[in-house]
């Protein structure tokens, strides 16, 4: 379980997060919704200690991430897979090397075991026979799939998705949404998805946190979000939905 408590963060003069608080329950997908530039990605990076909050705490399985040493943070990161917005594949390595990198460093497996494991990870995300391809030859959707394969290669408990469908056409985005659902159902992974795509959020999410002006406007289940009477939440859902539905048609 991940508990995010009263997180504050300022970059220069800009106050990005103002007391964000919500919980992420085990084996559920929690979607953090909010407008672009609203601090969602910052929040995601704080969970694995890539960015330190100015105030507040983040507890992962009862341990406060903000108080951890660098060594403890590296230990914590074994529990996490992270899909970056642009996939962040290492462009000097092939797809196979991208996925095998952490397996080689952290497992002590033989070359054969590593190969089998990376092929399985690629198979899970629906990509076969691309181990020897360079990331520059892949489409945006394929890069995200490889990024996801790399994120799940070490079988993490938690996967963090940073804008997983941004910049993808609707068909590819649907494929990624399906994968996120499968990760939870097949592998029992707890996920946090940050997105501004409300359609994608409703497809993958079990619980939702809506960020507005750096604070959590509301947190709750799908029904609670859809039936919210809060004017700001309604405004956010209504302003986002037509665009998402427009894409569908």
């Amino acid at each position: 379980m991940i508990r995010i408590k009263n997180i504050w963060k300022k970059f220069g003069e800009k106050q990005v997060l103002r007391g964000v608080t919500f919980d992420v329950l085990n084996k559920e997908t929690t979607v953090v919704l909010g407008r672009s530039g609203g601090g969602k990605s910052v929040l995601l990076k704080m969970i694995i200690g890539l960015i330190k909050p100015d105030a507040g705490s983040i507890e992962v399985d009862g341990k406060d991430v903000t108080a951890m040493t660098y060594k403890e943070l590296r230990g914590l990161r074994f529990k996490f897979g992270f899909l970056f917005q642009g996939a962040a594949l290492f462009d000097s390595m092939t797809v196979g090397e991208n996925i095998a990198l952490s397996l080689r460093r952290h497992t002590g497996w033989t070359d054969r075991e590593i190969k089998e494991s990376l092929q399985y990870a690629l198979h899970v995300v629906g990509l076969d026979n691309v181990e020897h391809v360079m990331p520059s030859s892949l489409s945006g959707g394929m890069k995200k799939r490889v990024g996801l394969a790399r994120a799940i290669a070490l079988t993490p408990r938690y996967v963090l998705y940073d804008e997983p469908t941004t910049g993808l056409d609707m068909e590819t985005a649907d494929g990624i949404n399906l994968l996120i659902k499968e990760m939870r159902m097949k592998l029992g992974i707890t996920s946090i998805v940050v997105t501004h795509d409300i359609h994608s959020a409703f497809v993958v999410g079990d619980r939702f946190a809506v960020l507005e002006n750096g604070a959590a406007l509301m947190t709750g289940t799908r029904d609670e979000l859809q039936n919210s009477t809060d004017e700001e939440v309604r405004k956010y859902i209504n302003s986002s939905l037509p665009m998402a539905e427009g894409h569908r048609s």
Binding site: K45, I48, L50, Y70, R74, G75, R77, F78, F80, G81, F82, F84, Q85, G86, A88, L89, F90, D91, L101, S102, R105, H106, R150, L154
Partner: protein, 268 residues
């Protein structure tokens, strides 16, 4: 207690001091961050075996890939030194002195300095652009997310490779420059090879070559570490990478000439 009028900071009498304060604060901020990065880089040096593959790759990039430019520059450095030395000597000075001048100038100063300045551009810019691009495309964050120590993985191998390969390149450059000097003497200044070699042998001292190698070691560390710092902490997207790369070339060139003076003052 009386409050300070905020408008006082706009007072022209204080602008100069505000400028000095602001910039020295920035300078010490960068210096502190650079020292912290180097601390993390060097504290993991005992784990070099773990990163041997990366170190080897970087040695190839810093060393092997720089050989053509090192050969080209030093061949001309040697030739120009020989021709200009011959031009400056009077007829009654033995021609063998050209060989002495070339070997002394090349080993002590010209090859280490010229090679370092060229590599500041080539190696320094490459490292900053590589790490900077990795930073802005979140590849460094991805490494950290995969439980890697990104400094040990990216910075330590580059700095080690620089410290190993710069001296080797400069030994290589010394040989090419002396050969270039010999060719320049024979072809342009009409000095017989025997006279050049005789002069060279008379003035050669092992310490001169060792001094050049010591300088190369310092230059290698400075260029790669500054380049890594600029790339690792880059901000501002692709424009930021461009600016950081430019800063690397300028800063490393300045650092090299200042360090050249300090090392000469201390060691000679």
């Amino acid at each position: 207690m009386a409050e300070i009028d905020p408008g006082i900071v706009d007072d022209r009498r204080f602008t100069f001091f505000a400028f000095i304060g602001e910039h020295s604060s920035k300078f010490f901020g960068h210096l502190g961050k650079y020292c912290a990065l180097m601390w993390w880089t060097l504290r993991n040096i005992h784990n070099a075996k773990e990163y041997s593959r990366n170190i080897y790759q970087q040695m190839v990039t810093v060393g092997n890939d720089s050989i053509p430019i090192v050969v080209f520059v030093n061949a001309f450095v040697g030739m120009v030194t020989a021709v200009q030395s011959a031009y400056q000597l009077y007829d009654w000075i033995p021609r063998a002195v050209v060989g002495s001048l070339v070997v002394k100038s090349v080993l002590l100063e010209l090859t280490p300095l010229m090679t370092a300045l060229v590599l500041a551009g080539k190696v320094g810019a490459t490292i900053t652009a590589e790490l900077g691009t990795m930073r802005v495309t979140e590849q460094i964050d991805a490494l950290e997310a995969l439980a890697f120590d990104s400094v040990s993985y990216l910075v330590t191998p580059r700095v080690i490779a620089g410290m190993i390969m710069f001296p080797i390149l400069i030994i290589f450059g010394d040989m090419v420059a002396i050969l270039g000097g010999l060719i320049g003497s024979i072809a342009v200044a009409n000095i017989p090879a025997e006279a050049f070699i005789k002069g060279m042998k008379n003035s050669f001292e092992t310490w001169d070559a060792v001094f050049g190698i010591i300088k190369a070691n310092f230059f290698g560390f400075t260029i790669t570490s500054v380049a890594c710092y600029q790339g690792y902490f880059v901000e501002g997207g692709s424009e930021g990478v461009g600016k950081a790369t430019m800063r690397t070339v300028v800063l490393t060139c300045l650092a090299v000439v200042v360090m050249d003076f300090i090392l000469a003052s201390v060691l000679l």
